[in-house]
Every structure is written in C-alpha cells, then in structure tokens.
C-alpha cells in the first residue's frame, strides 16, 4: 500500500527495473559508488568511479491504472568530478564520487552536493521547456541577421520546446581537506553542511566557498600516536546543532555545536563494551563502523560494522538497543577475508520511511532487510536471473556448515567480488534502489 513505508516480511519485493550493462566485463569507471533518493523520492541519483552522476526521475503514476508501476527513467547525466594530480604532494586525486546528498527543494530547480576525495561541488539541475523565438537581430540558429534586411520590429515570444535538463556547477568547495572525504551531510537549517575526512570534520555555508570552519580535529600531534580515524559523519535530521561521527574503533560521538566552536569534546560517546574473552586480531577491524545514519524521526541512529547492524537510542550511550547479524557465517572466514581485503569493505545501511525496517548489503549480490517491529529478517538477491517484470524475489539462505539444504548456498560458494555496498530506500514508498558493482536494481513492493 502506497505511503505506508513499512516493509520486511509482510511485504513481497518484486523486480521493477535494472540499469546498466549486462556484460561481465566491468570497466572501473562504471563501478557505482553512491546511490541517493532526493527528499520526495521523485529523483534517484547515482555516482560512479568515473566521476559521473546519473539522475533518474520517477514517472508520474497513471492514476487510472494502478497496476502500472511508476518507473525511473534517466533525467540527467553529467561529469561531476575529473581526475586530478596534486603535484606538490605526489598525490593522485580520484574522480570517484564518494557521496551525493540532495538539498531540500526550494524552487523549481533541484540541487545536490557531490564529493570526491578532496572537493565538494554544488550542482543545480534545472529544466528548460520553453525558449524565446523571434529575435530581431538574430536568426533562429544564432547567426546575426544582416541589418539592412531588417525592416520591421517584432517582440520575441516564448515557445514550448522539448524538455531539456541542464546540470551546472554552482559552487566548488575545495582545498579544505588534507585527507580523504568520506561523508557530507546537509544540515536541517538548509544553510550549512558538513564534510568529514579521516581526521577532521568541516562546516561550510552553502553560499560561501572560500571559508570553512573546522569543527572536529582528531589528528594527534605525533602521527605515530594515531589510533583511530573518522569513518562517517551526519547531521541530526531536526536539531541543527547536533551531529555524529563514527570511528574505526567502533565508537560514535555525538557533538553539540552550541557547546564550543571546536567540537573535539563530545557530548555523548556511544560505545558497546567489548567482551574481553572475544578479543582477537580481527576485533578492531570488524568493529570499524562503515556507515552511520539517523532515523527519520531523529530518535535513533543506526551503525554498520563488518558483520552487524546496530540501532542506538540517542538517550542511551552504553549499548545499542538492537543488534542484527548481517552475515554471521563470515566469522569463520575472517582469515581469508583479511587476505583478500574484503574485511575492509565499507557497507552502507539505510532506513525505510517510517523507521520500521532497515536494509544493508552483503556479498554474492545479497542484501538484507531487517524488520525492527516484527523482529524478522530476510535475505534477497539482486541478480539478472530474477529480472522478469514484477517477478517476486525469493528469500535466499546461506548454509554455514554441515548439510546444505536444497535451496541454500554454501558459504564457500559465495562470490565475494559481488558486493552490495550501496542501497537506498524511497523516503515514503516501498521502493528500493540496490547497487551491485555496475548495475542499479530497483525493486518495488508487490501490488495485488
């Protein structure tokens, strides 16, 4: 039912669309690096390793035909970032888009922030559906008319034309980050935003590009003493003074910008005490938080570490209120996952519209839906084999050991190159966007 925003096991997910090339030969530039719905859910943006942004627009539903599902079609595409080389530091700057964040819509145009490792850009996406015709001094193709031939005066008029969507860079926020930007987050005040790299968080004003305020700095005086880095940061959805940042040691710090200009001292520290008997070489690595997201209602936040998703109540710092295992069967594979670097993969997570279900990706193109209200979970797969229109996705099961049942897949058969790192959930409806390496899948709730 449209608008419910619920999901989980009473919802059946169906294939809707898939974008991208079918062939297995994936060019590096085509690797999808970020996926984000805008605030209304009408637009869906993707960024890739080649620095390109593709925006899809939901077609307006045909009310007389409720069976007809709204599809997402290409609306605009542009090159956001180009590769650069920092000659002073001998540093190659990748054009890969790390994050895209939409601004709430204020007028006819749409705005989004896109960032690579070093530079954030504000893009304006606007529509043009009419153009002036009937100039006196120019022909329709732009050539100047011979003044001698002009004998009458006419008033140019606007005539409709085929819709043209233009993307133009309105601001470039550069040179504020020594380390690699991992997050950007627009403030609820709609005037400022933050950008975070491994060691610092900066506050910007959307109108001002030549100044940025440093609000968190965890760089130690002696780099040898470095023990943790910032992995993600986000502003609270309603409180414009509050933001959180997560670390590679599994902690989350909540900061209040009213307390001081430099928020090195946290207001709250969220950390689950570790059972010392469980400590191993891998403990710290798998506790590193790869993503942190506030719930829409602003009362909770979700963190993703290598093996689990945790829901935290902002009023309780000493432990999460809920913990969900994403792929516990990987615990017995940590050695090989360390050797092939998969243990360092950064999975993202997202909430559904009413905060009742959360979603995150896994390997073998599996993704997990974790229903908080019903305490149930399901594993689904984004695959070319389930691409028939309105085909319902079958739950998948992984066999950790012992006898493999008929429909199960064994841990050793999982393809660790097929990772779903980026997923997004429509803010109001049960429509999800799931990115495999180079394809974007759109699934919708089954409508009877």
């Amino acid at each position: 039912m449209a608008g419910a925003g619920g999901g989980g096991n009473d919802v059946q997910w169906c294939f809707s669309q898939v974008k991208g090339a079918i062939d297995d030969d994936v060019a590096e530039a085509d690797i999808i690096s970020t996926v984000e719905f805008n605030h209304s859910g009408e637009l869906l943006a993707t960024g890739d390793k080649g620095g390109r942004v593709v925006i899809f627009q939901q077609e307006t539903e045909n009310k007389s035909q409720p069976q007809c599902r709204s599809e997402y079609n290409v609306y605009s595409t542009f090159q956001s970032h180009e590769p650069e080389f920092d000659y002073l530091k001998s540093l190659e700057i990748e054009e890969k888009i790390n994050k895209i964040r939409w601004l709430p819509q204020k007028n006819a145009a749409q705005f989004l922030l896109s960032t690579n490792d070093k530079t954030i850009k504000l893009w304006k996406i606007s529509e043009r559906d009419k153009r002036p015709e009937g100039y006196n001094l120019k022909e329709e193709d732009g050539r100047y008319r011979d003044a001698a031939t002009i004998t009458t005066l006419r008033v140019p008029v606007f005539r409709p034309m085929d819709l043209m969507v233009e993307a133009s860079p309105r601001r470039v926020f550069a040179n504020a980050h020594t380390y690699h930007i991992n997050s950007i987050s627009v403030n609820s005040d709609n005037e400022t935003y933050l950008s975070a790299d491994d060691l610092r968080v900066n506050l910007w004003h959307l109108e001002i590009t030549d100044r940025s305020f440093n609000i968190v700095d965890i760089k130690p005086a002696n780099m040898e003493e470095l023990t943790e880095v910032i992995t993600a940061a986000e502003f609270h959805p309603h409180q414009c003074n509050t933001f959180v940042y997560s670390s590679s040691k599994g902690t989350i710090r909540l900061c209040d910008m009213r307390a001081s200009a430099l928020c090195d001292k946290h207001s709250k520290l969220f950390e689950e005490p570790e059972d010392p008997s469980n400590r191993s070489f891998f403990s710290e690595i798998i506790s590193s938080i790869s993503d942190v997201k506030f719930s829409h209602n602003g009362r909770y936040m979700m963190t993703r570490d290598y093996l689990s998703v945790k829901i935290w109540d902002l009023n309780m710092e000493n432990r999460p209120v809920e913990t969900y295992q994403v792929h516990e069967y990987l615990r017995s594979k940590l050695c090989s996952l360390y050797e092939n670097d998969c243990i360092f993969d950064k999975f993202e997570c997202c909430w559904n519209g009413n905060d009742s279900v959360v979603m995150t990706g896994s390997y073998n193109n599996f993704f997990r839906m974790l229903d908080r209200s019903q305490r149930r979970d399901v594993t689904l797969e984004a695959s070319r084999e389930s691409c028939k229109p309105r085909q319902v996705l079958k739950p998948r099961r992984v066999c950790a050991g012992g006898k493999r049942k008929k429909d199960e897949i064994s841990v050793d058969s999982l393809d660790f190159n097929k990772k779903i790192l980026h997923t997004a959930w429509h803010p109001q409806e049960n429509i999800i966007a799931v990115a495999t390496t180079n394809n974007l899948y759109i699934f919708q709730e089954k409508v009877n």
């Binding site: 090159q79 380390y179 050695c335 360390y338 180079n438």
Partner: protein
C-alpha cells in the same frame, strides 16, 4: 583433523589455541586468528594501530618527484633515456626514475555512463 594437528605442531605456541578451538568449536574467530598467525608470523601486534591506519591515510600516493626526474634527465642528456618500466606501472619509486610515461593515464571519462544507456 589429525593432519591439521601435525601441521600446527611446528608452531608450538599456536597448538594450544588450535586444539582448543577444535575441541570446542565455539570460537571460530580464534581458529581464524590462529590460521592468520600461522601464515604471517610477523604480523604486527597492534592490528588496528598506526601501520594499518597510515596505509589508509596514504591511499592514492604516487611517487613522482619532479626534482629527481629533471636531475636524471640532465645526467642522461648524452645517453638514451631509460625505457619505460615494465607492466608494473603502479610502482614507480626507489631506484627507478619515474617518467611521465610511467604514470597511469589520468583521462577523465568522456563516455556517458552505461546506467544512462
């Protein structure tokens, strides 16, 4: 199972751990840790410590020093320039004087994304 025991006997300090995990099988992570230590006995004591984080902070480093390059060019004025490094274009450091040809091409994608196709 018995063959595993024989292998680990050579690493005496790991034997206890492996035996323990084989006995109880309740801590798969310990088994994994033992496997890793067996393969890489010199792995740092502080896994999340400086080395690991430093590597993360230095992502994207390409070693090219224009000073070195120009000095080398000056010395080689009368000789042939060294041939470009072999297939391993990513490592241009140490004794080899990097040339612009060695660095990977940094061209932007002029092709439209396949998602838009």
């Amino acid at each position: 199972m018995s063959s595993d025991n024989q292998d680990t006997e050579t690493h005496s300090e790991q034997m206890d751990e492996t035996q323990e995990s084989q006995d109880t099988n309740s801590n798969p992570v310990r088994t994994e840790e033992a496997k890793l230590k067996a393969k890489y006995p010199n792995l740092g004591q502080k896994p999340g410590g400086s080395d690991f984080l430093m590597k993360r902070l230095q992502k994207g480093q390409k070693y090219f020093d224009s000073g070195d390059y120009n000095m080398a060019k000056a010395k080689m004025k009368n000789k042939q320039l060294p041939a470009a490094a072999g297939p391993d274009k990513n490592i241009v450091t140490g004794d080899h004087i990097p040339t612009p040809q060695d660095l990977p091409q940094r061209k932007s994608s002029l092709v439209t994304s396949k998602l838009a196709g």
